[in-house]
């Protein structure tokens, strides 16, 4: 049970950590100062959530584990994030579409985790949910502005949605670990989340004049530790300092 809980905490934290890193790459590169600051602030919130999950994971694991060792010293196969969040920034439309899909999912997931039988997870969820609501407001507003904006912004957002939407199916694929967590009252019911996710996404698509992509959901296995080629590049950047200078401190 201890191992399962530990792995589940990694799964919860990894999405925020990898997406947080992707957003941090934009620091100083946002299309305008305000959006630059917004994206890096969202990144910071996501890393805050990661700290919550990994601090607890370290406690569960015991021994030498710390939130930092968990964040910086795992190999690619030991990461359980969904493939969506590791996708490259490409352009602002991709950044917003990726953020929007994640925010919709994450808000629904956190709402259920607030009721988790695990008190620590519930506490982290309460805290994170407040912040995620702000992120979702930001990303859905931008979905509408880009989709219902100029011809170019519309085309770019539609292209980003066409590329990224097929990755969202992975959110709702229930792994044996998630099934176990659901059954013992710690985890979430992904089927319920999917219904609400579909509703919100189609509603925002309508307002943003974005067409629902016809492409099928892709079968991906990020939650089993099998990733796209993107993750290796992210980790070599993300882990560089700890790998090059073991145990260094800020």
């Amino acid at each position: 049970m201890k191992d399962q809980l530990y792995n589940y905490l990694l799964m919860l934290g990894d999405n925020s950590m990898i997406l947080g890193h992707r957003l941090s790459e934009l620091c100083g590169h946002g299309p305008a100062l305000e959006t630059d600051i917004a994206l890096t602030n969202i990144s910071l919130d996501l890393f805050g959530q990661v700290r919550g999950f990994f601090r607890y994971a370290a406690e569960v694991k015991g021994g030498e584990a710390t939130e930092d060792s968990i964040a910086f010293l795992r190999y690619d196969r030991e990461h359980y994030n969904c493939i969506l969040v590791e996708q490259a920034n490409v352009d602002f439309a991709h950044v917003i579409a990726r953020q929007f899909f994640f925010d919709v999912f994450q808000e629904l997931q956190l709402k259920q985790l607030v009721e988790s039988k695990d008190e620590e997870i519930a506490a982290i969820a309460v805290k994170s949910l407040k912040e995620t609501k702000y992120h979702l407001r930001f990303s859905s507003e931008w979905m509408k502005r880009l989709g219902d904006g100029t011809e170019e912004s519309h085309e770019r957002l539609q292209a980003a949605v066409d590329t990224l939407y097929p990755f969202t199916g992975e959110f709702f694929h229930e792994t044996p670990l998630e099934k176990e967590m659901k059954e013992n009252g710690i985890g979430v019911d992904l089927e319920l989340i999917k219904t609400a996710f579909d509703e919100t996404v189609s509603q925002i698509f309508v307002e943003a004049t974005i067409k629902m992509p016809e492409s099928k959901q892709r079968m991906v296995k990020g939650k089993y530790g099998i990733h796209s080629e993107q993750l290796g590049f992210i980790l070599s950047d993300f882990q560089y300092m700890q790998r090059a200078y073991p145990n260094m401190e800020w």
Partner: protein, 167 residues
């Protein structure tokens, strides 16, 4: 409803805590901010429960270190614990804290409902900290830090920060 007020028996400890400020909004002390949740002296050791404002707030580590230093200075060892529950809300900022914020040039958080109208509905209700006009508009939902939004006054044309409601 969890109250913002906590009881600290020792005047000396309270004074020390009131000397520790938020590094990002230096006019606010950790007591004004409401992040110190429990203080107890057990055999000369001060146990302090601290709760983060935003979970990723980089100021938290600094505040924790500064609290320890301040209490060490008056001769206490400190045992600091980071508590996540109940989660911090802007309601825990004291009246004194709200006044200092406004004086400093940051508009204090409004109620959840008004906050939503200002941030999402484009309503002009946030008071400019320079000239008190409410003829203001949001420039960005995220300002210089995650907890603030950036506004501009259309009367005096100055920009200012608004401390967003977090509930």
């Amino acid at each position: 409803m969890v109250s913002a007020q906590i009881h600290i028996a020792s005047k000396e400890i309270l004074t020390a805590l009131e000397s520790v400020s938020d590094p990002e909004i230096p006019v606010l002390t950790v007591m004004d901010l409401g992040v110190v949740r429990r203080v107890e002296v057990v055999d000369g050791l001060v146990e302090v429960d601290l709760t983060p404002t935003y979970s990723g707030c980089p100021a938290m580590d600094t505040m924790a270190a500064d609290i320890t230093t301040a209490l060490n200075k008056i001769g206490y060892e400190v045992k600091m614990k980071l508590v996540m529950s109940p989660a911090w809300t802007t309601d825990w900022i004291s009246q004194e804290g709200r006044r200092k914020l406004e004086e400093y040039g940051v508009a204090a958080p409004m109620s959840e409902e008004l906050d939503l109208q200002a941030l999402m509905g484009g309503k002009r209700i946030v008071k400019c900290t320079h000239c008190q006009s409410v003829n203001t508009k949001m420039i960005s939902q995220f300002g210089s830090t995650a907890c603030k939004a950036l506004f501009q006054c259309e009367d005096c044309l100055e920009p200012f920060d608004y401390f967003k409601c977090l509930k």
